[in-house]
Amino acid sequence: MSQAAAPEKLYRQRVRRARFGLRLVRSAGRKRRGWLDRFLTRLLRRATTPAPGTDFMRDELVDANIGFDPADLERYQRGEADVCRRASHRWFPSLCCRGSIRAFADDRADT
């Protein structure tokens, strides 16, 4: 049996669940949070946090993202050679820079 042919009761349950979900989304997306928003966001966080070891969103590159030194970025933008400390780059010999993020040459995901 297809969705809309499902009993009306089931449909109404799903609508109520969707409305509650939307309330959670609203709370989580607010900057000025009252106690209810904070409480609901905590509930949401708990409900959406996967158990350790099952988190499919863990990723070496993302988890190692510690950002850049603003001064390095400034020098990089000016094209200064002294930021090329890591390795020369075949395509941008004058432009390569000391990155704060590790490059993972061999872990390219499938495309």
Binding site: S2, Q3, A4, R17, T49, M57, L61, N65, P70, I101
Partner: protein, 731 residues
Amino acid sequence: MADRSERASEKSVICASCDIGCQLIAEVRDGRVARVRASDNPIMRDNICMKGIYAPKSFAHPQRLLHPLRRVGARGSAQWERVSWNDALDDIAARLQRVIDAYGPEGFAVSTSQWNTSTESGAGRRFMNLLGAPNWISGVALCAGNTAAVNRMVYGWFPQPDYSATRCIVLFGHNPRRHSWTPIYNAIRRAQGRGAKLIVLDPRRSESAERADIWLPLRAGSDAAMCFGWLKVIFDEELYDKAFVRDWTVGFEALRRRVDEFPLARVAQLTGVDPEQIRAAARLYATHGPSVIPWTPITDQQRNSTSAIRLHCTLRAVTGNLDVPGGEMLHGLNPDIVAETDLELHDQISETQKAKQLGADEHPAFTYRGMAALTEPTRRVWGRPYVNLLMGSYMANPSAVFRAMADGVPYPVKALFSLGNNTLMGFADMQTIYRGMMNQDLIVVHEHMMTPTAQLADYVLPGDSWLERRQLHDAWGWTSIVRISEQAMQPPGECRGVYDFWRSLAVRMGLAAHFPWPTIEALYDHRVQRTGMSYRQFENTYEWYVPPIEHRKYERSGFATPSGKVELESSVLADLGFDPLPYFREDPPPDPAFPLQLFMGVREDEYFQTGQRHIPELRRRRPEPEIFVHADDAQHYGLTHGAWVAVETPTGRVKGKLAVRSDMPRRLVRVPHGWWKPEMPQGRETLSGAWEFSDAQITRDDVDYRDREQGIPHLKGLPCRIRPLAAETTP
């Protein structure tokens, strides 16, 4: 390494490095964004990819355009002089006026996508509509925008899948991954974790296919035939929602007769998939709902695209998945925010000028002509006559515009503005686009880098980035949830937002009264005024602004189609002179000179469209374009893994490094999209490698290989051949 002891300020930003728009946090130190990370909001947990992470470095690139440049040599000679914004805008306005005086406003075309320019707020279309210029084109003509237009013909809006409660997800060819379409990947995996089923249709055994409950390895370009097979099963086994079909659709019996032309044995022959697998997938989709068929660019880019999109719509409708929780939501616009589409002033351009929109005669689906019959239904249901969903409802046909630029037929187009849009490489038939660009009186490009398109311009203007501007993001009507992006740092040099560009030009061309907002912030104040807040207050209060969402709205107001129902048999297409029912056009007879099939338009994790090749870390990960083939084909054609090869079609060839892949089917060649090399020499002879690597050169655009109703090119299953390149011809 960033000094973590320093206290950084944090800004909530929306990434525009691809078209997904992840909500991220920018950490700011010393006036610079030092780190971009995923949002703390649990809804968006971990939604960030490598393109977002490297954005601070991308925008700090030493070759980023920081000042306006004017061409001083011949077009494409790579000779420039720095000019002030005022001088550039004065001259652009004067030269554009000369083009309009000589050729009419239809002699002016704009190619852009508001995804990456972000702060348009409809200003470009507003400017064009006030001038009477109908020839706006975009990559959304073959990516989402066209789908939105075709969806409107069926049920009046473009749905957004409700991943949060769905029980079955169908991926037609696309492959969301950890670093590509990350939030979709996240949502699908979460849904699977809750028990939702996944059906993947892909010629290649992709990552998504590996995780699927059912994988249908269909032949490239056969999506419409497969949908007919599903409908055959659903109708024959009476798995459809009879009450919905009875009360809310028109044309069911006619559609059923068309579907009966596709017994599973025929569908199996057309798609190359076992009939029992087709049956199992159709049953799962229809019975394990609520189900979703998320939008896919794969179906957008086929010679049967309009029919295939309509068949997706049909499947959603007849199985009762429209506008229900866990199904496909028809959001409508946010009632409290002035929508971009309302700011575009589509009522200001005359019917005479609309009728001149290029391509509307032959391929009207997403043009003003194609959408005209939906004006009154849209007013009835959605309260406004024009809704430019995903920017895709009132476009000129890109190929027709390029032919007019190149050959002056049916009339000359002599001025092209390209904003955040590498036009030369972003559409089919790069050779014609190039001829057209070389035949222009005025080309203006608004960009970050000196792209191949920019190299052919008269003016190159430096654009700001998503870390450097405020944005109010209404998703162009796809959802009613509006989001904000804060400004995290000042733009470098003289980089400016696109709204500033359009307004400055409008003021110079006598349209100041229609642009009463001197800054984008003033315009945002206008857009949020119904909330009773200034934009600054709004920005400080919300990350997302979520209106109440109502289900089954059609019970109150019907669907925004001429009949008020889901049009399984389209009155709009019938009136335009097309088959009102979906159909499947089989491939032309095989050409022995091009015995393989080409699958194009695919993005790699590191890059989106033609961007990001200048980021050293990403180039180290993927230094060259990689062309995928099956091992048997490699052996048959004498190709070696890692060696340079050429892929050829009757229109041209591209180079790439061969990757022999076990996940590829036999006889299919996969070419990545958008390759050029920013480090290579500039100018028309080389175009920084675009002449060697850009897949736009091998895209056929002749009548056999374009969709009839939309006129978009066939990118999934073109005939091609592959051969090894001698060492001396490799880069």
